[in-house]
């Protein structure tokens, strides 16, 4: 078991900065997900933890010991790849046994460990098969078996579920989470799928453009995104954003965006003048905005998306007949009947509003405030 520390790590390829001064503390036995869009540097980070890539500068420590110049075989790690990467010429048994054979363990011990790993992943019946005779989900289990059999202190996962179909992905998500509970090892898991991140992680590190955007629990990430990038990336469907400005009249402050106006109680934004700049961006999650009510704005129904349990209504404030509208999504009851072009009132409860600076920093809710 190991704690992993990534200390001010840089990785550049020529002029391209893949990972930019990244610092991350991963506790022993923690399940940490590196989340970000493709090309954000999360896989490079994982490869550096694995030893497949060497940092340009900075340190990677396992339990306080620098390992950044150790090759993968000298680190106590296992890795599951996006391509699954089973050895095609070896049977399932040989695939799982391979890491132990390379470590030259005694034959009997190898056999018992392979069989117990196969039991853990319920693939005992497949041991004599070749990878090409397996389904996608079975292959993924074998790859997990190959990782588990070594009993390493750190498990690394590089988007292991992205090659699977949706149903299987949900099953494997649970499986990997249970595996973490059972093994009690440190898990570092890379994905671009925010649902995977939210469902499995103890903590999520959101990375974009090679930089760490936020590192917090899934709940914190969802409830209090550090900036616009995190707010946009986490949550499905994504948070609604409305650019606008602050207006004062008769000592009262209001936020005025396109088609929307929200009265702000005193103290919501500490210094509304902010040295004369009044532009900011309002954000609200689709499940927090409501149709009807006090009407902070009036829009038109552009389209509706029923998903069974809910109904998502796409509202536009640009007028009833716009060709390329900006859409504002609202989650509502599935039995609501709405026609396209129908005029609707939109209400934004104050307690669920976010405000961001135009440069992306979160302004509200304030840091530290409950």
């Amino acid at each position: 078991m190991s704690a992993v520390t990534i200390d001010n790590v840089m990785k550049t390829y020529g002029d391209v900065v893949a990972v930019d001064s990244l610092t991350l503390e991963i506790n022993n036995k923690e399940f940490v997900v590196l989340l970000g869009p493709s090309g954000c540097g999360k896989t490079t980070t994982l490869n550096m933890i694995a030893g497949l890539d060497v940092p340009t500068s900075g340190h990677i420590r396992f339990d306080g010991e620098s390992v950044e110049h150790l090759p993968p075989e000298k680190r106590d790690i296992s890795m599951v790849f996006q391509s699954i990467a089973l050895y095609p010429h070896k049977s399932v048994y040989e695939n799982i046994a391979f890491p132990l054979r390379m470590a030259r363990g005694p034959k009997r011990e190898i056999d018992s460990r392979v069989r117990s790993a196969a039991g853990l992943l319920r693939i005992e019946a497949l041991l004599d098969r070749k990878p090409h005779q397996l389904s996608g989900g079975q292959r993924q289990r074998v790859a997990l078996g190959r990782a588990v059999v070594r009993d390493p202190s750190v498990f690394l996962f590089d988007e292991p579920l992205s090659a699977l179909d949706a149903k299987l992905r949900v099953d494997m998500r649970v499986e990997i989470k249970k595996l973490h509970e059972r093994l009690g090892a440190t898990f570092v898991y890379v994905t671009h799928d925010q649902v995977e991140a939210l469902t499995m992680a103890d903590r999520i590190a959101v990375i974009d453009g090679g930089r760490l955007q936020q590192y917090a629990t899934p709940d914190e990430i969802y409830q209090r995104p550090a900036n616009l990038i995190v707010a946009k990336f986490v949550g499905s469907p994504s948070m609604n954003f409305v650019p606008g400005r602050l207006i004062e009249s008769a000592g009262k402050w209001r936020f005025a965006g396109e088609g929307l106006e929200v009265s702000l109680p005193e103290g919501l934004l500490d210094d509304p003048h902010r040295s004369g700049r009044s532009e900011l961006i309002l954000g609200i999650r689709p499940e927090r905005a409501a149709l009807g009510g006090t009407a902070d704005g009036t829009g038109w129904v552009y389209a509706t998306e029923p998903v069974g349990s809910d109904l998502f209504v796409d509202v536009t404030f640009d007028g009833p007949d716009t060709i390329d509208p900006r859409l504002f999504k609202i989650r509502t009851r599935p039995d609501l009947r709405l026609r396209s072009g129908e005029q609707v009132a939109v209400t934004l409860p104050l307690e669920h509003l976010y405000f961001f600076e135009p440069d992306g920093r979160r302004l509200w809710p304030r840091d530290g405030a409950a």
Partner: protein, 324 residues
């Protein structure tokens, strides 16, 4: 179906899909019959007859030529030399070809140029190859003596092509010519090995040697078989190089079987004997290539993929055999 058929008829001068296919295959088959099958049958017929070119007479002798060949020590000697030459050539060109391919598969500056240059020896004809190597090993004007004799390493006019050493020198010249072809095949195969397998193997603590034997070699196994077959057949019927290099000498120390057949035909005009010997040559080449095939696909019941590859290779092996 009807609509698709009508469209096909429209596009191909009034032929249906299967008519079109038959026409194409038929033309190729006809060509093969004229160029390969008919000469084979004709030579089989010749091999059963005794021919007298001066009297322009021939009479049926049945299997007499075959019996005579098998009893002839010159034939046994030639076959032995051929097998020796083939064995040296196959082992060396396989190892060197694979070595070149492994090096060229690694990224380094100038790799592109080197990849192009490395194939050149194969593009050079065997006769030119032989001539070049003569310029290297000739005792009086050869480059090797030109360098080594002044340094005192060998005596002036040292004879590299002695009765014992000549076979190795022709084999080296042949390997110089054919190994790049193997390298070319191997390089193509190496590039199809998924990079993640190597990464997974490194994580699994496999060193470079283990990675080669557990990942690279199983992956390129069938290309190894193809190269084995091609080089074996090329070496076993390797007439051009030997004829231009040593003409079988000194003595009969490099007189491989095809050279003997050549002498039967053009020096002794024993056409029946020569064609019978040619059949012997085909037979040996087929036995060799089939042996590789059986040995390398021995555990084929294990995987479906082997089953798919094996029949696909069989015609290639047969075709190489027929070229002899």
């Amino acid at each position: 179906m009807a609509a698709a058929g009508a469209r096909a008829v429209h596009g191909r001068a009034g032929l249906s899909d299967s008519q079109f296919a038959l026409t194409i295959v038929g033309a190729v088959t006809l060509f093969n019959v004229v160029v390969i099958i008919l000469p084979l049958i004709y030579s089989a017929w010749i091999s059963l007859y005794e021919t007298n070119v001066i009297l322009r007479k021939e009479h049926f002798v049945g299997g007499k030529h075959f019996a005579k060949l098998l009893a002839d020590p010159a034939v046994v000697n030639a076959i032995t030399i051929s097998l020796q030459f083939t064995a040296i050539s196959v082992v060396l060109s396989l190892l060197i070809g694979l070595g070149i391919a492994l090096v060229l598969n690694e990224p380094f500056p100038g790799r592109g140029v080197l990849r192009a240059v490395v194939l050149l020896p194969w593009a050079v004809s065997e006769v030119v190859t032989a001539t070049m190597w003569i310029f290297i090993v000739n005792p009086t004007f050869g480059g090797l003596n030109g360098i080594l004799a002044p340094l005192g390493i060998v005596s002036p006019s040292f004879d590299w092509l002695s009765e014992h050493a000549a076979i190795y020198w022709v084999a080296i010249a042949f390997v110089w010519h054919i190994a790049p072809l193997g390298a070319f095949f191997f390089l193509a195969a190496l590039q199809t090995v998924p990079a993640d397998l190597y990464r997974a193997a490194r994580i699994d603590r496999a060193g470079a040697v283990a990675r080669f034997f557990h990942i690279t070699l199983p992956h390129i196994k069938y290309v190894v078989l193809i190269v084995l077959v091609v080089v074996t057949v090329e070496a076993f019927r390797g007439f051009d190089l030997m004829f231009a290099f040593t003409r079988g000498g000194p003595g009969t120390s490099t007189q491989i079987f095809p050279l003997l057949i050549f002498r039967y035909t053009f020096e002794f005009s024993q056409y029946g004997l020569a064609t019978a010997a040619s059949y012997l040559l085909i037979g040996i080449a087929l036995i060799l290539t089939t042996t590789y095939f059986i040995v390398l696909t021995y555990r084929r019941k294990e995987t479906l993929r082997v089953k798919a590859t094996a029949p696909a290779l069989a015609p290639a092996v047969a075709a190489e055999g027929a070229r002899v």
